[in-house]
Structures are given as structure tokens and as C-alpha cells.
């Protein structure tokens, strides 16, 4: 980092005519390493396909499935193999209260993966749900990393009383069972509209689970960040900068932040995976994404009542989660290997 800084300050616009050979930066080296990692790139490709599929959900719903996946279709019919069948078949067993929705047709058209208990197309809901799941996991990760970065840097850099309070708060949140905290917050907040200053969140908004998940995991990231900043604070190049009388703000911006950034980037894919699982769990407990919106977690919940008759409704979104989280974890390993110098040493020794 510091070398790049020196080069940058000496190569001002005045001597732009001189050819300056710049060292390959840390990020560029890392990116090249990542691009060479075939497994990680494969995982990235899978993720890209999943995102693309979810973004194209409206196209799928209008062109392929031909039904609105947010409106129940209780007495519709569909022609399969030349025969007309009702989408929802009344149950013949027991009291005859339940319904058996149509199973998967396995044809690229309406009800590719069957219908749920309200006659909605599962495949289309899966894509729309994926959109929400990805959106929530992504935004929550962003919130978490930014907050954790701020908290960790402030605590680690300024030390003293502020750091003591921050450390204790992180300890308390750390010892608080994460699911219980998320569930408590969700249950209290989910059914009400909230207005805090200029921000207002309507009831059942996607922002609620997003913010809750983002905040709950702050200690996971803030603690390592704080440790890293504490280390950096004692390192020679920061001491030198302090000794030179460079203002704290500038030290934070030029010396601390770039070094912490790599920690945050390494955490990003792993937090995405974790957030996705948490969102699914909250939605499964019916306190995450609220109906009629869907997410992979809510579709699993819808599928539980149909588990023994139409298991695919619950299995398909679960598989989607497994594949996405798996790809994120693999990508996360690749990013860590590419950016964390310590693990680089480890790999070199291994060979």
C-alpha cells in the first residue's frame, strides 16, 4: 500500500510525461490470482447464472409460466398431455378439507415444478423469491460490512473509553444467541410501520429483515476488524505517520482503511452466505419476508404443508439455497486465498 502511495504522490500531473512504472497493486494481484482460480471462477459463474435467472423472473412469469405467481389460482385448469386437469385437486382422504395441487409437469411451460397450495406456479415464485433472497442477503451484507467497518475502526483506532464501550457492546451482542436476537427484533417490528426521522419503513417491507440481519451480524465482522486496526495502530508505518504529524483523519483514510478493506472484502462472500441462510430461517419462521412477496425461505414454509404430497415445493427452494450458499462459500475461499497474504504463504508452503 505504502509503495503505491509514494508512487502516486511523486507521479503528480506535473511530470505526467515521464513514464512511471507502477508496481502491480495489491488489488490487481489479488484479482489476477482469483481469475486464475478455476474452482472459484466456476462458482462465480454459477452465481452469475442464478442472479441472471432471478432478474429474468418477470420474463419467465409472463412468457413461460403465463400466470401471475402472486395471485392464487384456485379453480383454474391446465392441459397436460392433451388432458385437462384442475390446478388444485380437492383431497379425497380424511375429511376432504385439504387440496393437492398439480405436480410438476417437467415441460418448459406453465407449472414446470407444479403449483403450491394456492395454485401459484412454483417455478415462477422460485425465481421471484430468489430475487428477494439475493436482494436481502446483498443489502444486509453491505449494511453489516459498513457498520462493522466503522465500529471496528473507531474502536480500534481511537481506543480509550470509546473502545471500551464498543468492545463491551460487541461482547454483549456476541453472547446473545444470534437467532433469538433476530427473531425478537423481527417479531416486535415486523407488523408495524416505523418512522425514524426521515426514514420510514412500511409494515412488511423487505427492508426490515434486511436491516435486522445486517445489524445482528455486525459483531462477527467488527471484532476481527477491531483486532486488525489495533495491530495496524502499533505497526511501524502508522507510527511513522503519527510521528510525522499527519492528521488522524488522513491516517485513517490512507493507511488504515485500505488495509481493513481487504478484511472486509474477504468477509463479504461468507457474510452473503450467512445472511442468505438467516433470511431463509427467519422467513421459514414467518417473520422474514411477508406474504404475498416470496423468498426461498417462505416457499419452503409453503411447501411444508404439502411435504408428503408434493415434496418438490419445499425441496426446490432448499436446493436453490444450497447451490447458492455453496457457490458463495467456494468463492469466499477463493477470495480469501487471493487477498489474505497469510493464507498465500500457507499455499506456497503446501506445494
Amino acid at each position: 500500500m505504502s509503495h503505491a502511495d509514494i508512487l502516486e504522490t511523486t507521479a503528480g500531473p506535473a511530470d505526467a510525461a515521464l513514464p512511471v512504472i507502477r508496481a502491480r497493486g495489491y488489488w490487481r494481484t489479488g484479482l489476477q490470482q482469483l481469475l486464475r482460480d478455476r474452482v472459484a471462477m466456476g462458482a462465480f459463474l454459477v452465481l452469475l447464472l442464478i442472479v441472471l435467472g432471478c432478474v429474468l423472473a418477470p420474463v419467465y412469469a409472463s412468457r413461460v409460466s403465463g400466470t401471475n405467481p402472486f395471485v392464487s389460482n384456485l379453480d383454474g385448469t391446465i392441459t397436460v398431455g392433451g388432458q385437462e386437469q384442475p390446478v388444485l385437486e380437492p383431497s379425497t382422504e380424511g375429511l376432504g378439507l385439504g387440496v393437492t395441487p398439480i405436480g410438476p409437469t417437467w415441460q418448459f411451460g406453465p407449472y414446470l415444478l407444479g403449483a403450491d397450495s394456492q395454485g401459484r406456479d412454483v417455478a415462477a415464485r422460485l425465481l421471484y423469491g430468489g430475487c428477494n433472497s439475493l436482494l436481502i442477503a446483498g443489502s444486509a451484507t453491505l449494511i453489516c460490512l459498513v457498520l462493522a467497518g466503522i465500529v471496528g475502526i473507531v474502536g480500534g483506532f481511537f481506543g480509550g473509553f470509546v473502545d471500551r464501550v464498543i468492545a463491551l457492546l460487541l461482547d454483549v451482542l456476541w453472547a446473545f444467541p444470534i437467532y433469538l436476537l433476530a427473531i425478537s427484533l423481527s417479531i416486535v417490528l415486523i407488523s408495524k410501520a416505523i418512522t425514524i426521522g426521515p426514514i420510514s419503513i412500511s409494515a412488511g417491507s423487505l427492508w426490515l429483515p434486511t436491516v435486522i440481519i445486517g445489524v445482528v451480524y455486525v459483531p462477527y465482522v467488527a471484532r476481527p476488524v477491531r483486532g486488525r486496526v489495533l495491530n495496524l495502530r502499533r505497526s511501524e508505518f502508522v507510527l511513522a505517520a503519527v510521528g510525522l504529524g499527519i492528521p488522524s483523519g488522513r491516517i485513517l483514510w490512507r493507511d488504515i482503511l485500505p488495509n481493513v478493506l481487504s478484511t472486509l472484502v474477504v468477509f463479504a462472500p461468507l457474510m452473503l452466505a450467512l445472511n442468505m441462510m438467516t433470511e431463509a430461517a427467519l422467513s421459514f419462521l414467518s417473520i422474514g419476508v411477508q406474504s404475498p412477496a416470496a423468498s426461498w425461505g417462505t416457499i419452503i414454509l409453503d411447501g411444508v404443508t404439502l411435504l408428503y404430497t408434493r415434496p418438490l415445493v419445499a425441496i426446490a427452494p432448499g436446493l436453490a439455497i444450497v447451490v447458492t450458499v455453496l457457490a458463495l462459500n467456494i468463492l469466499g475461499d477463493g477470495v480469501r486465498d487471493a487477498l489474505d497474504p497469510r493464507s498465500k504463504v500457507r499455499i506456497r508452503n503446501k506445494k
Binding site: 463491551l168 457492546l169 461482547d171 454483549v172 451482542l173 453472547a175 446473545f176 444467541p177 444470534i178 437467532y179 433469538l180 436476537l181 427473531i183 425478537s184 427484533l185 417479531i187 416486535v188 417490528l189 408495524k192 410501520a193 416505523i194 418512522t195 425514524i196 452466505a273 441462510m277 431463509a280 430461517a281 421459514f284 419462521l285 425461505g297 419452503i300 411447501g303 411444508v304 411435504l307 408428503y308 415434496p311 419445499a314 425441496i315 432448499g318 439455497i321 444450497v322 450458499v325 455453496l326 462459500n329 467456494i330 500457507r346 508452503n349 503446501k350
Partner: protein, 325 residues
């Protein structure tokens, strides 16, 4: 030494106090949270609301309410539920605890055994097909939502393959008491144990392999190899012992978190009335005394296991012991 323990204890109490404060604030001071309205029901008249407030002590200042609740929870142990009036919360938690404990203990045995087996096998067959296969299986295990795995397990063992010899022995969902019907208890718990253990076995296996590989580069391993010890002996007696240190740390934290309510999803899926389920039900009806009791119980386990891990750490790692920790 004694001052360390006292400081540790003070820190524990401070953390638990912080947690109880957070719970209290979440339910009383968040915008729109009105426990009296929840208790009185949807269309309660203002007079009823007033009555409810007075009879539950909700009209008193917050610090007084907090103090009263803590007093009744810890000193007189007479705290009762808001929802089921007269139901004391401490016995309810005590009743649910064995369910959670038997779930987590059984799963812990499985995942520790599984994790060690996976880690050692993968490290011994490093960079072979077996290693890669085990690592990817472990990663799949880590990537599965536990409630989804539980539902799939239910589908297989309760419905699809229930009539075959394979899973005919699996009893219907629900908890059987260990002391009354030990064999039935075992049979009902096997599937939940496996479900809960899968993720942790994968995680621990991966971590253990990484640690073993890292330990393989240490000087003392080179020395052991130079002495002519067999690879098996080096792996099991020399590398494994140092690698297990982080294993113990992880185990302590995960075990504490699970006993303290982290097993909630597994309990919900398999219909086990454990502490997680108790908390979840209480949360849904905003039954604050019950939530307070379960969350404090939960955080107690987390904090205690944190402390035990720290002490164990000093005990098993001579490097830490040497520096006078």
C-alpha cells in the same frame, strides 16, 4: 489467578446484564411495541388497556419494571407468564431444558466424531480424490439450511421410506422422556441428532483438515519425521494434538450457542418442546417474562461456555499457560 477469575466472573455478569437490558428494551422501548395491547387483544377498549397495565405492573416506570422482573426471576423465582396467567416461567424452562440438552448432547457426539474422522482422513489423504470429495461434502453440509434438511429427513423417514425396513423403526415426531422410555427416546432422537450434526461435522472437518495441514509445516513435525516416526503416529500424536486446540474453542462456543436456543429450528421442525421452541412460542405471543427467562438462560450458557473455553485454553495449550494467562 483468583483476580483473573473474579474479573472473568464480573465480565460475565456485566454481559448477562447487558443482554437482559437489550431484551427488555426491545420489548418495551422499540417504537410501536406495547405489551399491554398484546395482552388485552386486538379490539380492547381503553379502560381494559388501563386495567391490564395496572394489573401487570406495566404502568410503572421502566427501571422499576425491570428491577421487579429481575427480582421475581432470580430471588423469589415467582415470575409468571403474561399469556398463561399463573404459569411460572422458571419451572417451564427447567422442564424444557432436558429436551434441548439431549438434542444437543447427542448431536455434539456425532459431529465431534464425524468432524474428527473427516478432518483426519482428508489430511491423511491430502490432495487426493478422497480429500477433495470429503471437503466438498463438508462444504455441502455447511451450506444446507438445517430446517430444510430436517424437513427432507422427515419426508424420507416419515413418509417416503417409512414403510421400508430402512426407516420403519422411526417413531412419530415428538419427544419421549429419557427416564421413562430410554429406548423410545433414543429412537426419536436419532434423526434430529443427525440433522443437527451434519452442518457442524462438515464445518469441523474442514477446519481440522486446514489446521492439520498447517501443523504439518511446523518444525516439531519435521523433527518427528526426522526421528523416523511413522506418518500415522506423526499425524495422530503430534499434529492432531495442536490442531485440536481451535477445535475445542469452536466446540465450546457452538455447544453453548446451541444449548442456548440455537437449536430452535431443529426443535421446531421435529416438534421437540425444548428451550428454543419455548422461546419461539413466547416470542410469538410477546410473553415477556417467558422470553426474559429463556434468553437469560440462553445467554448464561453462552457466557459460561465462553469462560470455560478460555480456562480450558490455558489448560490444554502450554504456550498460553506459560505466559501466565
Amino acid at each position: 489467578m483468583i483476580s483473573t477469575i473474579i474479573r472473568r466472573l464480573a465480565h460475565m455478569i456485566l454481559v448477562m446484564f447487558g443482554i437482559s437490558m437489550i431484551v427488555f428494551l426491545i420489548f418495551f422501548a422499540t417504537p410501536g411495541a406495547d405489551p399491554a395491547a398484546r395482552i388485552a387483544g386486538r379490539n380492547a377498549s381503553p379502560e381494559t388497556l388501563e386495567q391490564v397495565r395496572a394489573s401487570f405492573g406495566l404502568d410503572q416506570p421502566l427501571p422499576v419494571q425491570y428491577g421487579l422482573m429481575m427480582h421475581r426471576l432470580f430471588v423469589t423465582r415467582s415470575l409468571t407468564s403474561f399469556v398463561n396467567r399463573g404459569m411460572a416461567v422458571v419451572p417451564a424452562v427447567m422442564e424444557a431444558a432436558p429436551v434441548t440438552l439431549s438434542l444437543v448432547f447427542g448431536a455434539a457426539i456425532l459431529w465431534v466424531a464425524g468432524g474428527i474422522a473427516i478432518g483426519i482422513t482428508a489430511a491423511a489423504c491430502r490432495n487426493t480424490l478422497i480429500d477433495r470429495l470429503l471437503m466438498i461434502l463438508g462444504l455441502i453440509g455447511v451450506s444446507m439450511p438445517v430446517f430444510w434438511l430436517g424437513e427432507v429427513m422427515n419426508l424420507i423417514t416419515q413418509s417416503r421410506l417409512h414403510d421400508t425396513w430402512l426407516f420403519a423403526w422411526v417413531p412419530a415426531l415428538g419427544y419421549k422422556s429419557l427416564s421413562a422410555q430410554p429406548w423410545e427416546w433414543f429412537k426419536t432422537m436419532v434423526i434430529p441428532w443427525i440433522t443437527l450434526a451434519v452442518m457442524y461435522a462438515g464445518l469441523y472437518g474442514r477446519v481440522l483438515r486446514a489446521n492439520l495441514v498447517e501443523a504439518g509445516q511446523e518444525d516439531f513435525i519435521r523433527t518427528a519425521r526426522a526421528k523416523g516416526l511413522s506418518e500415522t503416529r506423526i499425524l495422530l500424536r503430534h499434529a492432531l494434538r495442536t490442531s485440536l486446540i481451535s477445535f475445542v474453542t469452536m466446540f465450546g462456543l457452538d455447544f453453548g450457542a446451541l444449548v442456548g436456543g440455537g437449536a430452535l429450528l431443529t426443535e421446531v421442525v421435529f416438534g421437540l418442546q425444548g428451550v428454543g421452541k419455548l422461546t419461539y412460542d413466547a416470542l410469538q405471543s410477546l410473553d415477556l417474562p417467558m422470553i426474559m427467562a429463556t434468553v437469560i438462560y440462553a445467554s448464561f450458557f453462552v457466557v459460561v461456555s465462553n469462560a470455560v473455553v478460555d480456562i480450558l485454553y490455558a489448560f490444554i495449550d502450554p504456550r498460553v499457560r506459560g505466559t501466565g494467562a
